[in-house]
Symmetry: C2
Subunit: 341 residues, 2 copies
Amino acid sequence: MPHDVLLAEATRGNRVESRHYGAAVVVDAAGKTVFAAGDVETAIYPRSTVKALQALPLLTEGAADKYALGPDALALACASHQGEPAHIAVATEMLARTGRDATSLECGTHWPLDARAARALAASGEQACALHNCCSGKHAGFVCLSCATGHDPEHYIRPEHPVMQTVARTLEDVTGVPHTDANRGTDGCAIPTWAIPLRALALAYARFATGQNLNTDRAQAAAQLRSAIAANPFMIAGTNQFDTRVMQDLAPRVFTKMGAEGVMVAMLPEKGLGIAIKCRDGGVRAAEATAAALIARFGNESSPVLTHFMRQTLKNWNGQSVGEFRVSATLAEDCYPSIAS
Amino acid sequence: MPHDVLLAEATRGNRVESRHYGAAVVVDAAGKTVFAAGDVETAIYPRSTVKALQALPLLTEGAADKYALGPDALALACASHQGEPAHIAVATEMLARTGRDATSLECGTHWPLDARAARALAASGEQACALHNCCSGKHAGFVCLSCATGHDPEHYIRPEHPVMQTVARTLEDVTGVPHTDANRGTDGCAIPTWAIPLRALALAYARFATGQNLNTDRAQAAAQLRSAIAANPFMIAGTNQFDTRVMQDLAPRVFTKMGAEGVMVAMLPEKGLGIAIKCRDGGVRAAEATAAALIARFGNESSPVLTHFMRQTLKNWNGQSVGEFRVSATLAEDCYPSIAS
């Protein structure tokens, strides 16, 4: 099994201060590996990177139609949002369409991840609720799916609930990897997460990006979700977030989705490619830098946002430059020679 | 040069999800290496771990006496605090003793790192100022040092200012490593930070812990700072922070100080030892787990707080166990066999 590679590093003054290692893979919808670096075969937990795959049944099972979910709601169902007012409004409306509210969400409560949103909520005298959980859009989608298919949503987070069974079968089909008790863990928002090889994660998104090797219903659902996300990049994350910034600039040619513990996926529909990255230490910043570099190279994209995430100046609280965070020289030379000084 | 070693890992379900590599070293005040793992010779930026060393001139130059700084102020001068009301009150008072206020601080402004403190500040309708910067106690100390020694504090953050010259000479003497333009970077709070080998950082703290190989003034100042920190572990960090929790339990036998980008130091005065750790990817959680294990082993300490940081259950937002974060099996076996299951 190949060793992990240097993905990205932080510098300060004239030295490298910190280094991140991990793996990255680019595959097409037929399963051909276009690029691989590091260990892409060991199973990893994809965490929130599979949200768009988990949202497929929302369309294929008729829930989106039944509750007339618009593109903003479909995008939020695929999101790790920052708990900003626009996110909360859409999640609230999704639940209202089923006649339910935040008490049906089983994701748990945390304060908005966006610091300004958290302070504004506190200043208003309100408390955080499950709607502010970064996964509330996905969970509102599960409630919609449950209600639309005639199941009581209570305990929808459990592996044996019909909603989670439908989600598991979808993930299994699209990734080509069995989803069983043997590879099941529990995610931060309480639903199951199944460990799969990084290569299988990239393959699933090559299929999602193109519709190839998906059945007709899923291919149509994937196209509808891509369209919804491309039209609503703010819904998928929020202010100043990587996914939002990249897709505001480059969708629908480029889609990205971060996951906890340094996982990242991207899709390049026009190129027919899916990308998956795992920073082995869980470092999100390294997964972002690597994703930017691979998108630049394999998407043949050039954009200030990508350049920023490949090589950004680090500033102190006075705004002075103190160093930079950059994709590793090896990946930079491979991916975007102009920034490899 | 030895390769870095596995310091700590996060698990989920029945798998390892993320891994952190780095280096750790334990030395005595004579410079004898008691334990070393990974690359302990390459220079690293010690970041906030040197704050107690930077505070020595506050005592040796007479500023603490002149302004009658109490143990809480001395501890805050060594702190990376969370911006909680008690921290702000002490920093404000330190500046007031010199006839100055927050406008003399050159560390820059950010909102309190403690989320509750940030929300409470927002709810009160106030804005963050330089006092909330996690380094404001250190900077208030620099203002005190500058005023006490007859220098205008303006631009005290610059390498050529008398305050920073005094600090640099102190660091140079105590660590035994030249502090020049060649190894100088700029820290997040705008003052210089000089890269030194991890081994030299541990040596400096073995000296600080014991007074050995320090001149008499510095040895007395170190003892006074140790005493101040031991009496005020909340001042050094804040609610739920590693340093505060460990020292509330184990000071004055154990001192710890975290730094940005995964650096950590500890002192075991009764054992005559200094400890320094660098998690190569910058992961604070791994530096904490490693520090806990090395303190348990080389301090011969047994405490629920150390056990917690060596092997803690990770919970989701519903409070369910989903995995654990733990020091690597190798370090655990070396350091604390009872937790290496």
